[in-house]
């Protein structure tokens, strides 16, 4: 099984801007790419997953650095990013839209571009597709159960969540840090994630995620000519600093291990669904 999909190159990187690094989940790649895009004119609007009351996620169209920074960080819950793509074009009048999403959302936007039945005048306005590594996602109520019941922290008090070292981490605004072993979070996963065969957002222009790089850094796969050109410009402008992926620990081997484990597990689930007569995407 092909773990990563096609890619031109892989690097380890982090944002050069200290303010981004302070607010970002890991290397701040999405924030850095978006801010660079808006400031250089390569993008004129970007889709973000903003934070709402109760640490819920909500898709928004952002056009300023401040909006991007206030949305930085991972939410680990469903955020319907595609639902605002048309607003970006119609209401905000954007002509160069930056899109970011989980692997499934990246697939959705690729479908919208290739088969744009209900997407009038959208396909040519998508200037950059960024994907984030994703093992699975939680519906909001699933995440709420993990945070409130397992960790004893109210959703309204959450400032940050994270997944790392085999645990789900919750940080409260009162300074509490609680963890749950990842295996205890599995029952709260979105079931539809279990038919997904994509860990590294294989159809994005640029995919990124923390796995494979040291703390504070992110791994990047550049997949398309468009993505390569964009990344090169970011590096030249000093928006991010990069390192050879082979020179960092733990490196691509770990990404491969996780990507394959997702694919193998979910391939079994897809087969199981077929056996018991449930549909799968085809």
């Amino acid at each position: 099984m092909d773990p990563f999909g096609t890619y031109i190159k892989a690097v380890s990187a982090r944002a050069a801007d200290k303010e981004i690094l302070k607010k970002a989940q890991d290397g701040g790649i999405v924030s850095a790419a978006y801010i660079y895009g808006l400031e250089s004119g390569l993008l004129d609007g970007v889709i973000i997953a903003d934070k709402e009351d109760g640490f819920a996620a909500a898709p928004k169209v952002a056009t300023t650095r401040e909006e991007i920074l206030s949305a930085a960080g991972t939410k680990y819950t469903v955020c319907s990013n595609l639902s605002v793509v048309k607003s970006a074009v119609r209401e905000y009048g954007c002509e160069k839209v930056g899109f970011v999403g989980t692997p499934c959302q990246v697939r959705s936007i690729r479908k919208a571009i290739k088969y744009p039945v209900g997407y009038r005048h959208v396909p040519d306005k998508i200037a950059l597709i960024m994907g984030i590594f994703c093992m699975e996602n939680f519906p909001y109520n699933g995440m709420k159960a993990i945070v409130e019941e397992h960790c004893g922290i109210k959703m309204d008090d959450v400032v940050k969540t994270d997944i790392g070292k085999g645990k789900f981490w919750v940080y409260s605004k009162w300074g509490d840090v609680k963890t749950v072993p990842l295996k205890d979070t599995h029952p709260y996963e979105q079931m539809s994630c279990h038919v997904c065969m994509d860990y590294t957002a294989e159809l994005a222009d640029i995919s990124t995620g923390s796995v494979g790089s040291p703390d504070g850094w992110s791994t990047i796969f550049v997949r398309t000519a468009k993505g390569e050109e964009y990344l090169n410009k970011m590096v030249e402008a000093g928006a991010i600093e990069t390192k050879d992926i082979d020179a960092v620990k733990p490196g691509l081997d770990l990404v491969q291990k996780l990507a394959l484990s997702k694919k193998e597990k979910n391939a079994k689930e897809v087969e199981h669904r077929k056996e018991i007569g449930l549909p799968v995407p085809y």
Partner: protein, 228 residues
Amino acid sequence: MVKVAHVQLSSCCGCLVSLADTYEKLLDVLGAIDLVYSQTLADVREVPDDVDIILLEGSVCLSDHHAMEVALDSRKKAKILVALGACAATGNVTRFSKGNQPSKPVHDAFAPLTEVVKCDLAIPGCPPSPESIVAVVLAALNGDMEYLEPYAELAKYGSEACGCDLITKVINKSLCMGCGSCAAACPTRAVSMDAGRPLVDKEICIKCGSCSVQCPRIRFPELIEKIE
């Protein structure tokens, strides 16, 4: 040159406007085809006998024998019959027609073309985007059957469509991952996202099929995997 005709039944011209909305790309399309019949764009009274592609817009009024004849005639004359737009593909708003329709008060029973005659391709959407019409016409001209396969399937099985599809085919089957593609595709804003799942306002849904056609969890053609 490939002969193309645009035929209209019970419809609003929206699909034709959408085709014209391709601006400079329309010239590519018109340059590549011989438009042998189109009430709005060409001064021809009769659809010629052997047309390569007929794009038929609108649903068929079953209580109007003229409409039935046009539908049957189009099937006979076309090598490839395309149900253009949601009225022809899935019924769309005309699904709600129940009598007293202009221009004759007894007109009722509007059925999508796909239910009346065998169609080769169906493009849902109200209207379908200019990009999708151009892509289908160009793929048909080039014989790109792989690209057309989903549209061929819709012509065969897709004669019913509405926001309910999202519930019966995606959410009830535990396939929805909450991307929001359906909500963006909806032309009437009948679909909103609630806690990461589509919420369909049945009062506003016009049964155009855009939401379910756009859903990657019902159909994800393999060729999308090939990115450049």
